[in-house]
Symmetry: C2
Subunit: 290 residues, 2 copies
């Protein structure tokens, strides 16, 4: 693969993450505007990206764009991504390095295994969203030091994986973790989907917005992710349903046990349990700072 | 009441909030070190506060300190506070303005109603904690723009309430809300205690700290409050048990309904529900910015 500055790069889907990746490629990786093509079924998103000077909106059909691109970021939700691959698989440039950003990986990786052998698809998941959605929210994404997960296919060539990892780091991300699609989906169900389900349930269960006068900062931080992209999360919850339901059950069990300690007034046991929680969460922070 | 700069101020309990209030009085309200007295059963906390130059550690017994103070902040947990009032009620200076910071208000306000008539006790709750606990964490508290709740007694004199509210604003707080102790405890059970129960349950239910590699920022924000002061929260959960259990049930109901939508693959209904959640949480932010 030639240096990224010399590649033609395509972004399919100029939403929150597509926009944020385009910004990072332009601002941090030396990619020129003329080398960065973007397509989207929403012409307005392309106009916004053009006006911001970060990409050339491609209005000639995805197929023509893909035929020119050495590197492609598919920034679509799972169902749209699978449909996109079915429709445009024949259009990718031979040898193209392709990656995606979908929040579930099992179905994507399974489809990627069956792609044309001359397409190098490396499934990925940048762990750096922001509340809201759409291109207008892209500038709120901060990649600096964030986690990035890759679930490489056995057929991926090591040099292409290295190229992508280097690019990810140049975009600002911190730790890159390689794992299996199933492991990704199980862990993400916990750290991402379950947290969104909980925050949504918390806001769902209280209609009085005057409750805001009683927030101390942690409530606001806690529920910020409830300002979510509803169609995207409804889809992710559905696609990863089986694993997510296991995670919800796991959480409900702990919540039920803690509730029982409160109900039964077992303050000493509660204190022990909360001490263990505090230690575990502190260890997690320390792991993150390494 | 004379101007705060001329008052002798006492702080009983030089922990996280006592320390943060002392810092705010010194740095933002023009209170001199010599006018700020602190007592604590932990001599080490007093030494730290003295070394930081923010207060004079009072080692001659709480009674002697109280006898000198025009204004007193009682920065103790609910049980310690009730015990402190029983032990030292006779020692307060006649006419002293006294307030507290305890996270529950019904039991405190009930006790305050029975105090000597020449003690002006105005129950309060600064909504500005920080993870961790103890004086060493005090500097992490940020009062700027935060909420402060007061549950005045019917016997409180308007001019004293105004004095305290002015002082609270000078310490940096934003909105001050006056309400009944019962309303405070019901709302705080939601915005504060329930969030801590949930964050603790989430960390409790997953032992694998490598999960940190899969965090995208929201997980870390979401669970930061799990680094909690275990004895304090165990006590608050127990004291406010009845209301907190109602709040947990309320949350469990919403979680159960959302779980059913996921289980049954009702993606469209889920999207509708998440859209309502998003709108409600956004309205809450807008209310906060007013």
């Amino acid at each position: 693969m030639k240096p990224i500055e010399e590649c033609t790069i395509g972004i399919a889907g100029m939403g929150l993450m597509g926009g944020a990746i385009a910004l990072a490629l332009r601002n941090r990786c030396g990619v020129m505007r003329n080398n960065l093509l973007a397509c989207d079924i929403d012409r307005n998103a392309l106009t916004l990206a053009e006006e911001a000077g970060i990409a050339q909106g491609w209005t000639g059909g995805a197929g023509e764009m893909l035929a020119r691109c050495d590197v492609v970021f598919l920034c679509l939700g799972p169902a749209a991504l699978l449909q996109f691959l079915d429709e445009w698989e024949h259009s990718f440039k031979p040898g193209a390095l392709v990656t995606d950003i979908a929040g579930v990986k099992e179905s994507i990786a399974a489809r990627a295994e069956k792609l044309r052998p001359d397409i190098e698809f490396i499934p990925g998941h940048p762990m750096a969203g922001a509340e809201g959605g759409g291109f207008a929210a892209a500038a709120r994404c901060n990649f600096q030091g964030k986690n990035y997960i890759l679930t490489p296919l056995t057929r991926n060539r090591p040099e292409n994986l290295l190229f992508l990892k280097d690019l990810i780091q140049r975009m600002g991300f911190g730790r890159i973790t390689e794992t299996s699609p199933a492991d990704h989906d199980r862990k993400i169900a916990f750290t991402s989907q379950l947290c969104h389900v909980i925050a949504a349930s918390l806001i769902d269960c209280e209609a009085d917005i005057n409750i805001a006068r009683f927030g101390g900062g942690s409530f606001e931080d806690f529920t910020r992710i409830a300002m979510l992209n509803a169609p995207m999360w409804a889809e992710l919850f559905t696609v990863n349903r089986k694993t997510l339901l296991e995670r919800i059950n796991q959480f409900e069990n702990s919540l039920g046990e803690i509730k029982a300690l409160i109900r039964d007034g077992k303050t000493a046991e509660m204190e022990q349990r909360l001490t263990r929680v505090r230690e575990r969460r502190t260890a997690l922070d320390e792991l993150n700072n390494i």
